[in-house]
């Protein structure tokens, strides 16, 4: 029997009037399409969604959706997204950016977002280059990569985004590619539904400055689904093991999904507020408290 997957919203309901200025063939078009599809499946109206980004090609993404958006400051998508989620817990909060935004300029914010575990979804469009500024070496560029800032080849080892977040204890970690938009869309939907910090690394090729072997056609040929490899997504150790192949093979799917999600920062804060509210002095007596001291 044909099973209806109908929801109240269609992907086009999340598409804004603003036209993307990305280079034709950019991987980010597929990521955007996957986000539209995931949001339609989630079924929450655009006005209940907030999309925060940093700076870079991929950070333009909130403007291309009908959700509330903030194309903010370089590397600062996560602190703003966390602040928003604490202040407005009823919103569905997404954060997005590139690998430079997330793992270089904003690299220091990632571990803190992970350990606080607020219920936000962080989507990194990892193209292994600084595309917006014309193709410099980025934190995830492969060793030996030739760019305008490494004409003789990079001497540095790349950051491994998957190991990075897994090691800090992220409760949901996945990787996708726009070479498989339905798979990526399902992954983003699952990440959004996960109750806690969820991280999706998308290997989104830069069509202008990326290498041939990083393009979507190459992804289609080399990608392997973790599900097909018998991967157990409830095991952090297995996830850490698999994540080590980042940069040498393209594995897609959920690396780790905590089977017992820890409480989110928001829920702990609200619990603390409730427990303290009984002891709290009335507002009009605050000055008295100072005077007593």
């Amino acid at each position: 029997m044909t099973t209806a997957v109908a929801t109240q919203f269609a992907p086009k309901d999340f598409k804004s009037e603003l036209k993307p200025i990305w280079c034709p063939g950019c991987g980010d078009f597929g990521v955007l399409q996957a986000i539209y599809r995931a949001l339609a499946a989630i079924g929450r109206p655009p006005h209940e969604i907030a999309f925060i980004s940093g700076i870079g090609c991929s950070s333009r993404i909130p403007g291309y959706t009908t959700a509330y958006g903030f194309n903010s400051v370089h590397g600062r998508a996560l602190p703003i997204a966390q602040g928003l989620k604490l202040a407005r817990p009823e919103l569905l909060v997404l954060a997005a950016g590139g690998d430079g935004d997330g793992f270089s300029i904003g690299g220091g914010h990632v571990p803190h977002a992970v350990r606080r575990n607020d219920d936000i979804t962080y989507i990194v469009m990892d193209n292994q280059t600084y595309g917006l500024t014309k193709g410099q070496l980025s934190p995830t560029s492969a060793k030996g990569r030739h760019t305008v800032t490494s004409p003789e080849g990079s001497l540095e080892n790349p950051v491994n985004p998957l190991l990075y977040v897994l090691a800090y204890g992220a409760p949901f970690v996945a990787q996708g590619t726009p070479a498989d938009i339905p798979g990526l869309s399902a992954m983003i939907e699952e990440a959004i539904r996960f109750p806690g910090f969820s991280f999706v690394n998308v290997q989104s090729p830069c069509v202008t400055y990326g290498e041939e072997e990083q393009q979507i056609k190459a992804h289609k040929a080399i990608m392997k689904k973790l599900d097909d490899l018998g991967h157990d997504p409830t095991s952090r150790l297995q996830a850490l093991d698999r994540a080590q192949s980042y940069g040498t093979e393209l594995l897609t799917g959920v690396y780790f999904r905590d089977p017992s999600p820890p409480p989110t920062l928001g829920s702990l804060v609200r619990e603390r507020q409730e427990s303290l509210s009984a002891k709290a002095k009335p507002r009009e007596r605050i000055l008295d408290l100072f005077l007593q001291k």
């Binding site: 029997m1 044909t2 990305w22 034709p24 726009p178 202008t208 400055y209 393009q215």
Partner: protein, 175 residues
């Protein structure tokens, strides 16, 4: 690569088959629209005009199918959704290229028509309902005709320049 999710062709009704066909045309129409926007954004006018022409074609097919659905089944609720199909007739995102020539745009459209034709051919043996089979055979034949029309345009298109745009053009800058 096209994909479907949750469609059981063996039990597909004519109403749902028509709705799927509408979604397939709608998706292709939207994608060609996105490609036309991209080409216009990057001042690639020949390809942009062709993609805009494809938008009109796909929209025409979509509205004809939607009208037929309305005539036969009125506003009866659908059991299918856009989430069930992906890239059946729509060109894949990485088909678009900055500074693509008219010939390259036509070749991208040809690959999409071939993909759609392959989809209907693969579905046919799984269909049990005679009216759905008839519809899919009709859609299959239409794809063959579209391929022929695109081929006519390819034959008329000027040859690509001997030097590829990536050899001389600067990187694309959206405006």
């Amino acid at each position: 690569m096209s994909s479907t999710r949750g469609i059981d062709f063996a039990t597909l009704t004519l109403k749902d088959a028509l709705d799927l066909a509408v979604f397939i045309e709608e998706e292709a129409c939207e994608r060609y629209g996105e490609f036309a926007d991209q080409m216009e954004m990057h001042d690639t006018q020949d390809a942009a005009r062709f993609f805009r022409y494809m938008v009109e074609n796909e929209e025409k097919h979509r509205s004809e199918l939607a009208e037929r659905r309305r005539e036969l089944f009125g506003d009866a609720p659908t059991a299918v959704s856009r989430a069930m199909i992906f890239d059946v007739e729509a060109p894949e995102y990485d088909e678009a290229r900055a500074f693509m020539t008219l010939r390259e745009a036509l070749n991208a459209a040809m690959r999409s028509e071939e993909k759609a034709h392959a989809f209907f051919v693969a579905a046919l043996p799984r269909i049990k309902d005679a009216s759905v089979r008839e519809l899919f055979e009709e859609l299959c034949a239409e794809e063959v005709e579209h391929k022929r029309l695109v081929q006519v345009e390819i034959d008329k298109a000027p040859p690509d320049p001997k030097i590829a745009s990536k050899e001389f053009a600067d990187e694309p800058v959206g405006e």
